[in-house]
Every structure is written in structure tokens, then in C-alpha cells.
């Protein structure tokens, strides 16, 4: 039953984060909302039913890779944002 709750939560976060990305104009908010959307997708993937016992290690590996990739790209996006602000632009 707990898996179903978190599946719902994951889908909710994914759609919430996804839609907010297009609504917010400020770069920082968009990066945060994208991170939330990503976490939502990962949560949904992990919470989805399937596999015999315990948690599916392949799904865990996928999510772990996803988290690391998300942090790498968010880091670069933040530095770009800062650099752009320094040059006087708006993201």
C-alpha cells in the first residue's frame, strides 16, 4: 500500500515540476522545478509495482545515475546563470 502512495506522490511531483518549469521565468526557479520533476519521475519508477521480492536493483541503479546526472547539469546551469547575470542578461 505504501508503494501506491509514493507512486501517486512521484507522479504528482513529476507533473508539478514539469509544468512549473514553463510557468516560472526566473532561471533559478526553473532549475529547481526541473530537479523536482526529475525526483518525481525517479520516485514513480521506484514505487511502481513489479519484480518479485524487495526493491529492483536495476531501478535503483537507474535512479542513482539519474541523480548524479541531474546534479551535474544543475551545477553547470547555475554557473551559467550566474555568469549570465554578471554579463547583465536575463536568463
Amino acid at each position: 500500500m505504501t508503494a501506491a502512495i509514493f507512486l501517486f506522490l512521484g507522479l504528482f511531483l513529476a507533473v508539478l515540476g514539469g509544468l512549473t518549469t514553463f510557468l516560472r521565468s526566473d532561471g533559478l526557479h526553473r532549475i529547481i522545478s526541473l530537479n523536482i520533476a526529475g525526483s518525481g519521475v525517479f520516485l514513480a519508477l521506484m514505487a511502481a509495482p513489479g519484480g518479485e521480492e524487495g526493491v529492483d536493483p536495476v531501478a535503483q541503479a537507474l535512479v542513482l545515475t539519474g541523480i548524479v546526472v541531474a546534479v551535474a547539469i544543475s551545477g553547470v546551469a547555475l554557473v551559467l546563470l550566474a555568469r549570465l547575470a554578471e554579463l547583465g542578461g536575463r536568463s
Binding site: G18, L45, I73, V76, R83, L84, G88
Partner: protein
């Protein structure tokens, strides 16, 4: 010596190159050129192996297909890999004349190249995700290397769009994995996952391939990227997303109709914009949007099983990569000579540069699909497939699209032939810049003639 070694080497070699270039920046140009040569050899190895004994598939690490990551090469993948190798070599040579040795371009470009080749050989949905992310990240940062404000803004927008596209694609993969329990594309093709997986994945890929109406980010990014980067972006990076879209369309063929509609929109909208914009690189960037529409239409035809369409799309992708690469390398040389690319003002700098004008001319001929270029062969196949499948609207778009591209490409050639000397003094352009552009243009013309060996290549795939 397993058959897929050259394919893996094509992806690993640029990785090794990027590490060496980052560690020893002063030698980066030499190292990059050596890596480029290596990748070309690997790509040719793959092409002739596929031509000889057909498509091959292997799971890395020797694990069973349901567990490990599969890499596979078939006719179509071989052609894309060849395009990546050839355009990559030209871009590297061009970069050697354009960027200093201690410039971050080299590491980022080699990492991007590794990601592209990884996409072209992968047979695993999640592996494609990681490779696409690496490609998106490095490509977006390459756009910002220009350093000025609007290049930075275009790069950031491209990075965010790439992240959104990748998240959508990941959601599609997650749904497919949950439903079928496998990540291998071939297995996904067999027990087709729920429609939602295909829609999400193809949505993300359409965004990354800048398919109309999701193309907004492409023109500013490609037009403002420095020198060879715009050639790399237009010729190769958008193709990686398209290549995956081809694989996923086979998993979810129902989306083919949508690709046709988007494709037609792209051809029309892209061409109209290309006729209107006032900068040389913007014209060529919008031409990419239009040609991606062309490819999307061809893709849908190929997936629907129209005879000869697979050959047409693979050939169009290869010749478009070469022709677009030649056009952008030429445009970058014009910017180097004129200091700006406002059009037709900068055309004066083409006046006494026959090599550049010839490169633009041949590239334009191929993009417009005029014989004797490779573009004509591709257009012939696509038209043949469309007529065979009684898709009259598609046939009209394919034929008319060529005319539209001839119209906006003529905007480049027309002022270039004006004999009156330009007012601005033009800066010297190193010969390697012009000749790498011409090299690609000559190659795309040659590809118009050398078709037979490609036939059994794609025949293996189609």
C-alpha cells in the same frame, strides 16, 4: 575480435582523446586530429563490416541481453556513424585553425563526439538517455564559448530545453521499463509497451531534435555558436535525437502520423523563416529546422514500411550532415573574414574567395536536392516511397521543400556573385578553414554518385 569492436572504439576513442587533451592542453590540436583520424578508421571499419556480414548485436560485459547493455550496428547506424566521423574530422580540422590549443573547446567537443557515437551504437533505452544527456550538456556549453551575452543566454536556454527533453524521455523509459521489465530497444520493439511510453519518449526526443513547434531554441543557439560548433550542432547533435526517434518510432509506430504533421509544419515554417532572417548563420540554422521536418516525414514513411523510404532517410541524414556542415563551416569563415554575419552586407567578403563560394554552391545544391549531389538521391528515394504509398500530400511537400530550400539558399549565393568590391576590409582567413568546408561539400557531391555500396548497407537494416 568480436564484430562490434570498431563500433565501441568509435565511442571510446574520443573519450580517451578528451582525457588526454584535458591533461595536456598544449598538445590538444594534435591529439584531437589524431583522435579524429582514429574515429574515421573505426567508422569505416564498422561500415564495411556491416556491408559484408550484415547487422550485428552484442551485450557489453558478456551478460545476457535481458541484463546487460546491448550495442548494435545496422546499415542505418553505420551511415549515421560515418556522417559523425566525416563531419567530425572536418570540424576538428577547422577547429585547429580556429581555436587556440589551450581552449576548453577541445575537451568538450571530444566528449560530445563520444556521446554522439555512443547514441549511434546503443541498443539500450537508458544508455541512450545518459549519452543524450552528455551530448546535451557539452553541446549547450559549446554554444556559450563565444563568451558574449546572447550566446550565453542561448546556451542556457538550450541546456534547460535539453534537460526538459531528457526528463520527458526518461519518463518514457521509466513507463516502458515498468510495463515490460526490459530496457533493450529490440525487446521493447517485440512486446510493445503502453502507448504512453512512446508518446513521452518521442516528445522528449522531438524537443531535443528541435522538431516544429518545439524548435524555438535551435536558431539562436546554432546561429550564435562560435565557428565549427554550429556545424557540429546542426549536422550531428540534432541527428542523434532523430536517430533515437527512429528507434522509438519502431517501438511506437502509432506516433508516425504525428511526425508527418510536425514535419510538414517544420518544412514550411523553417523555410519561411530562413527567407526572412537577416543574418547568414540564422538562415542556415532555420534551414536545419526545415530539413529536420524533411527527415521527420521520411522517418514516418520508413516506419510505415514504404519501400525505399529507409534508404532515403538514411541517405538524407548523411548528406544533410555533410552539406549543413559545409555550409556552417563556410559561414564561420565568412564571420572570421567580415567580423559579422549581417546579410547581405557580409557577402562582399565572399567576392574573391572562390573556394568558399564553391563550397556554398555545392552545399546548396545538395540541400535543395539537385543532381548530381547526394541530396538528389535521397529526395528521389523519399519521393518514390511517398508516391508508392499513395501519400500525395507528402510527395508534394518533399518536392516543394526542395524548391523552398533552393529559394532561401539562393539568398546566400545571389549577393556573393556581385562583382562590386565590398566597403569593409576583410580579415585573412586561414586556408584550412576554407578547405575543410570545401572538402565536405565535394564529399556530399561525390555521395551523389557512389550509391550502390550504400544500398546493401541500408538494405540490411530496412
Amino acid at each position: 575480435m568480436n564484430p562490434l569492436l570498431p563500433a565501441l572504439v568509435a565511442a571510446l576513442l574520443p573519450l580517451v582523446g578528451s582525457i588526454l587533451v584535458w591533461l595536456v592542453p598544449s598538445w590538444s590540436r594534435a591529439l584531437a586530429v589524431v583522435t579524429a583520424a582514429g574515429v574515421l578508421v573505426a567508422a569505416l571499419g564498422v561500415v564495411n563490416r556491416v556491408a559484408l556480414d550484415g547487422a550485428a548485436m552484442m551485450t557489453l560485459g558478456g551478460w545476457p541481453e535481458t541484463l546487460g547493455i546491448g550495442i548494435a550496428v545496422d546499415g542505418v547506424g553505420a551511415l549515421f556513424l560515418l556522417a559523425s566521423a566525416v563531419v567530425g574530422l572536418a570540424a576538428t580540422a577547422y577547429g585547429a585553425g580556429y581555436f587556440p590549443a589551450r581552449h576548453p573547446f577541445w575537451t568538450l567537443w571530444l566528449l560530445l563526439w563520444a556521446a554522439l557515437n555512443a547514441v549511434f551504437i546503443t541498443a539500450d533505452a537508458f544508455n541512450a538517455y545518459v549519452a543524450l544527456e552528455l551530448a546535451g550538456l557539452t553541446a549547450a556549453v559549446l554554444v556559450t564559448l563565444g563568451g558574449e551575452r546572447d550566446a550565453m543566454a542561448a546556451g542556457l536556454r538550450y541546456l534547460l530545453v535539453s534537460l526538459v527533453g531528457a526528463t520527458l524521455y526518461l519518463a518514457g523509459v521509466a513507463v516502458a521499463y515498468t510495463a515490460t521489465g526490459t530496457l533493450s530497444l529490440n525487446a521493447l520493439m517485440a512486446d510493445s509497451p503502453p502507448m504512453m511510453a512512446g508518446v513521452l519518449a518521442l516528445g522528449g526526443l522531438a524537443l531535443k531534435a528541435a522538431l516544429f513547434p518545439l524548435h524555438g531554441w535551435l536558431p539562436p543557439a546554432h546561429a550564435r555558436a562560435p565557428g565549427p560548433v554550429s556545424a557540429i550542432l546542426s549536422a550531428l547533435v540534432v541527428k542523434a535525437a532523430l536517430y533515437l526517434a527512429w528507434r522509438w518510432l519502431e517501438v511506437a509506430p502509432v506516433a508516425a502520423e504525428a511526425f508527418i504533421l510536425l514535419g510538414i509544419g517544420a518544412v514550411i515554417w523553417g523555410s519561411l523563416q530562413a527567407l526572412r532572417v537577416g543574418r547568414l548563420k540564422a538562415i542556415i540554422a532555420w534551414s536545419t529546422v526545415a530539413q529536420m521536418g524533411y527527415l521527420a516525414v521520411g522517418l514516418a514513411l520508413a516506419v510505415e514500411g514504404a519501400a525505399g523510404a529507409a534508404m532515403g532517410v538514411a541517405w538524407l541524414a548523411l548528406t544533410h550532415a555533410l552539406a549543413k556542415g559545409a555550409a556552417f563551416l563556410g559561414a564561420a569563415s565568412v564571420v572570421r573574414a567580415a567580423g559579422h554575419d549581417r546579410w547581405p552586407l557580409a557577402a562582399a567578403h565572399l567576392r574573391n574567395r572562390p573556394v568558399l563560394v564553391l563550397a556554398f554552391g555545392l552545399a546548396a545544391a545538395s540541400l535543395a536536392g539537385l543532381p548530381p549531389s547526394g541530396g538528389f538521391v535521397a529526395k528521389w528515394y523519399l519521393l518514390d516511397a511517398a508516391m508508392g504509398a499513395e501519400r500525395w500530400l507528402l510527395a508534394a511537400v518533399i518536392a516543394g521543400g526542395g524548391l523552398l530550400s533552393a529559394a532561401y539558399l539562393y539568398r546566400i549565393l545571389h549577393p556573393a556573385l556581385d562583382p562590386r568590391p565590398g566597403a569593409e576590409a576583410s580579415h585573412p582567413v586561414p586556408p584550412v578553414l576554407e578547405w575543410s568546408a570545401l572538402g565536405l561539400a565535394l564529399l556530399v557531391t561525390a555521395f551523389g554518385v557512389v550509391v550502390p555500396w550504400a544500398r546493401d548497407l541500408v538494405g540490411v537494416a530496412a
